[in-house]
Each structure stands twice: as C-alpha cells, then as structure tokens.
Symmetry: C2
C-alpha cells in the first residue's frame, strides 16, 4: 500500500481547499512543476486515495428538504436480502452495516414528516426487519470535512 508523503498531503490539502482547482493552479500553489503535480495526482488516483469526483446535488432542490437517520434491527441471517430490498427504496440515500446496537444505519431524505412515516413503514415491511428507530436530522452541525486530519500531518 502506497503511503502519502508530505507533498501528497499538501496536494490533498490544496484540493480540499478548492476541489475545482486545476493542475496548473496546484503546481503554482505548491511551487512545483505541472508535470510533477500531474504525475503525483495520477499516482494518488491509482493508489485509491480518491474515491472519485462529485458534483454534490442538494436533495432539498429535488424536493426533499428533510434528512433522517433510521436504525434498523434485523434478523441477521437475512441481512443480505434485506440490503437488496432496501436498495429498492429510492428515498434511502445511504446505508451502513453496523456492529453495535443496530444492524443497519440508514440515511433517508423525505418531503415531510408524513413522508418519513411512510418510508419507515416501507422499511418495516421488508421481510426480516424487526424494528426501526427513527431520528430526524435537525441540521449538519459539522459539515463533512477531512481538513483537520490533513492539517495534522502538516
């Protein structure tokens, strides 16, 4: 496994600060040549340091202003099938398999409280799902970030 050196970290920092910035701009910022930046970026991509590109879409713009997290308790041996069933529910935007109280942590978006109630029902209706616990997200008090981790590497 490839491990990042200081220059790589600086690259990632610069990219976090401005994900749109071009190779030319990065080279300029870090005082490297464009070739070097390009080579390192390619290496980072190949090594899997990037999960990909993203133009993040606001669910609210799509008409789903509410986000909720639903803990799902299931019959564990049916887990695989349940995941397949859940994947069919469009309002589920993400799900993690968990080790802990719940078996699954599901993130859903919805139009309003009634919609959330309906989605919860749909989840409960899946064969093998035993119980759910719903929590409405009031806000993202710490928006997703990796900057502090990058900064610590100096």
């Amino acid at each position: 496994m490839y491990s990042l050196d200081k220059t790589d970290t600086q690259l990632l920092q610069a990219l976090s600060a401005d994900p749109r910035s071009t190779f030319v701009a990065l080279a300029d910022t870090l005082g490297l040549s464009r070739n070097t930046v390009q080579a390192r970026m390619k290496r980072l991509e190949d090594s899997g340091a990037f999960l990909g590109f993203d133009r993040r879409i606001n669910p609210a713009a799509l008409g789903y202003p509410l986000t909720a997290f639903i803990e799902v308790h299931v019959q564990q041996k049916r887990l695989a099938q349940i995941v397949i069933d859940l994947a069919l529910i469009p309002e589920i935007v993400q799900a993690h398999g968990m080790s802990g109280q719940a078996d699954l942590l599901v993130r859903v978006v919805c139009t309003d409280a009634a919609d959330l109630f309906r989605i919860d029902g749909t989840i409960l209706a899946c064969d093998g799902v035993e119980r759910t616990e719903t929590s409405l997200a009031m806000g993202e008090v710490i928006p997703y970030r990796l900057t502090p981790l990058l900064d610590r590497r100096g």
Copy 2:
C-alpha cells in the same frame, strides 16, 4: 424557489452518471446546444441545487480505515458549546444535530479500535456530554446515491 423541470432532471442524471462530464458532452448527450446547457447549469448553480464540488478523498488512504457513528447525549442547553468543542476533534468528520433518542450523531474515522476508544473518551470529556453510544461501521452497504430519486422524476 426555483423548481426543476424535466430537462434539469436529465442534466442532473447525466451529471450523477459522470460528474466529470463537460458541458459539451452534456449537450451532446441530451441533444441540446452547448449554450442551453451552460445557461441551465448556471441557473442550477445559482438556485442552490449544487452543494459544491468534491474530489472525494479516501480516509483509508490517510491512515484511517475505520468509520464509526457515535450517538451523543448532552445537556441540551450546552449544545452550542459542545458543538464547538467537538469541532476541535479532528477525527470527527461530520456531525448532525438530531431530534430523537440522541442529540447528536457524530461520524468519526479512526486507525483502530483503541483509537476509537480514545476518541470516544475525548467526546465524553467535553463539558455537558452525558453519554455516548458507539457503533462501528462494518461497511457502506448502500453507497451515497441520489440516482433513484432522480430516476423517479424521469
């Protein structure tokens, strides 16, 4: 508030399929002129349909292969200060304020179980934090997606 029409939805679909695709490519795919695509994208940007750009970085590449979710119960009137304190912990990559069982749902990354234990301790040490419940994420069984929602508008 601007509401998306069919063409906008198709644009977002095409972008979800390939976030890197250029205006030229989008115009080509949808059978529109480049000017139209550019105009619509600008409108979408201005209307807040995009949350921004992202070159997603793999925390594992940074040396944090583990992800966990920690439910945090707090003295509610100290919530604001607690959020500030939590924001100082670099391993916290995201946090939501919740209405439900817990007051906060915190997402952390860590190097190993011992590291998670330490981070949990740091959270508990914050003034006003009463209790935490930690769950280790075993995997992202449904990766973040908005495609099904977009497709439904078809």
